[in-house]
């Protein structure tokens, strides 16, 4: 239990009304030994980046079902850069149409996990990301 504890922000941007999926991910990552900061429903990009900044997270997971990712993600990535957090990996969960994947990656998203993704997969992804040299 003495090993490094990744701090992960799980955020639910957008206006759709339930956060079951986000909570499942949050609990699963906790069970994988991580410290998960959970902020609740209807987070604006400003709220998400502010929480990430204050909590000094190693990675951010965004759960998006509403289809608003094309607007939300670029805004979040801009705010991340403005707040000296360009090096913090951001991954997406939820429903992202395959044809948008390239645009998301271009916007700086480090990983996309659809509804079928396993927790092992996500957890391994996070560990790989934070092992990148990063002082």
């Amino acid at each position: 239990m003495n090993e490094y504890k990744p701090r992960i922000l799980i955020a639910k941007p957008g206006l759709d009304g339930h956060d079951r999926g986000a909570k499942v991910i949050a609990r699963a990552l906790r069970d994988a030994g991580m410290e998960v900061i959970y902020t609740g429903l209807r987070q604006t990009p400003e709220m998400i980046v502010e929480a990430a900044l204050q909590e000094d997270v190693d990675a951010i997971g965004l759960s998006i079902l509403s289809g608003a990712h094309t607007v939300l993600v670029p805004r979040i990535m801009t705010l991340m850069r403005e707040n000296e957090m360009a090096d913090v990996p951001v991954f997406l969960g939820g429903i992202i149409p395959p044809e948008d994947a390239a645009a998301m990656q271009e916007a700086g998203i480090a990983g996309i996990f659809g509804p079928g993704a396993s927790i092992d997969e996500i957890s391994r992804f996070i560990w790989d990301q934070i092992r990148l040299p990063n002082a």
């Binding site: 998960v36 959970y38 609740g40 909590e55």
Partner: protein, 335 residues
């Protein structure tokens, strides 16, 4: 990104990025915590540290949010540390207090940090102590520390504050058995939250009778609860009468008055020189923890691990009593 020194300079200069990174380093490394505290300690001493503890779900985070809003209206800045338990099985933690704090977002005069208790011996107290020093040096006027009043370590954290609030709620606190006696011992202000719910008066009465001190409530004299039936003024100007105060974080009832009580407690501590006394108590506690840690680590570094293990086994098998074991261990390290 930056060396420690530079993060410290930047944090003291208002960089939230560096402040947040330093807190992580405090959490992850006692050595770095020490370096950081060494460099910032003399710049602190201005903040009013308020501990908020109480049973799960009593409304601590909601109340912290309302308190922070009310304090901000008085043009003071606020830092919040919200501690949640680490799972003993997985070592992970779900830190969810921010869910209740969304009203505070977008305010640059508020800094919120979630911390997992992690559960090393004394480690949490040490880490939160260092984080409080850092936030104080960074210039936050009021530091609110929320912990769940469940484990002793968590209660100790809240009790290390200048002012400690114990939060109860109707239906949780009206059964005298359910109120932890130890928790009442540390309270400077007892809060019955969820006053919009039925059964508040029963909880208030239960708490008052827990204080065992008649209708006016208990008084605290130099940190100790004393029994008395005379009025505050007659008794001793140094005494603090522990109020039982009703709030509703949902409707806002009693919040402004609670801030007044907190302010009054701070003034009381300063007027009676008990502020310095609390600082001394805090200093003593911190010193003890650090000394313990230092000697334990030095001791272990001078001793082969197997040797300690052998001794432990001998104690377990009753071939050796613990006191003789200490003699043997000390003899071993002294040569």
């Amino acid at each position: 990104m930056f060396p420690l020194e530079q993060h410290i300079l930047r944090a003291l200069d208002g960089s939230v990025r560096s402040l947040a990174r330093l807190i992580t380093r405090i959490e992850n490394s006692p050595d770095e915590a020490r370096q950081i505290v060494k460099q910032v300690y003399h710049q602190g001493g201005h903040a009013h540290v308020v501990g908020i503890t109480g049973p799960p779900g009593s409304g601590k985070s909601s109340l912290v949010t309302e308190l922070a809003k009310a304090i901000r209206k008085r043009s003071l800045t606020v830092a919040i540390i919200a501690v949640d338990p680490t799972s003993p099985f997985t070592g992970g933690a779900l830190l969810g207090d921010r869910v209740r704090m969304r009203d505070l977002s977008g305010d640059k005069g508020v800094f919120i940090r979630s911390m997992a208790s992690r559960g090393q011996l004394g480690g949490l107290a040490q880490a939160t102590g260092a984080v409080v020093q850092l936030l104080d040096a960074a210039g936050y006027d009021v530091i609110l520390v929320e912990t769940v009043g469940a484990g002793q370590a968590e209660v100790d954290i809240a009790a290390a504050a200048h002012t400690t609030l114990v939060i109860e709620a109707p239906g949780m606190g009206d059964d005298v058995q359910s109120i932890k006696a130890g928790i009442l011992e540390i309270a400077d202000i007892l809060v019955v939250n969820k006053a919009d719910r039925p059964g508040v008066e029963r909880t208030v009465n239960a708490l008052r009778s827990m204080l065992q001190l008649g209708p006016t409530g208990g008084t605290r004299h130099h940190g100790r609860i004393v029994q008395n039936h005379v009025t505050l003024e007659e008794q001793d100007p140094d005494a603090w009468q522990i109020p039982v105060h009703k709030t509703s974080a949902t409707t806002g009832t009693g919040i402004a008055e609670l801030v007044d009580l907190i302010t009054r407690h701070a003034r009381h501590l300063r007027d009676t020189s008990q502020w310095l006394e609390r600082e001394k108590q805090r200093g003593q506690k911190e010193l003890e923890v650090l000394l313990f840690d230092h000697f334990l680590r030095r001791f272990r570094s001078e001793l082969p691990v197997e040797y300690e293990q052998q001794i432990i086994e001998a104690i377990a098998r009753r071939e050796l009593d613990p006191y003789s074991a200490i003699d043997q261990l000390l003899a071993q390290t002294n040569q």
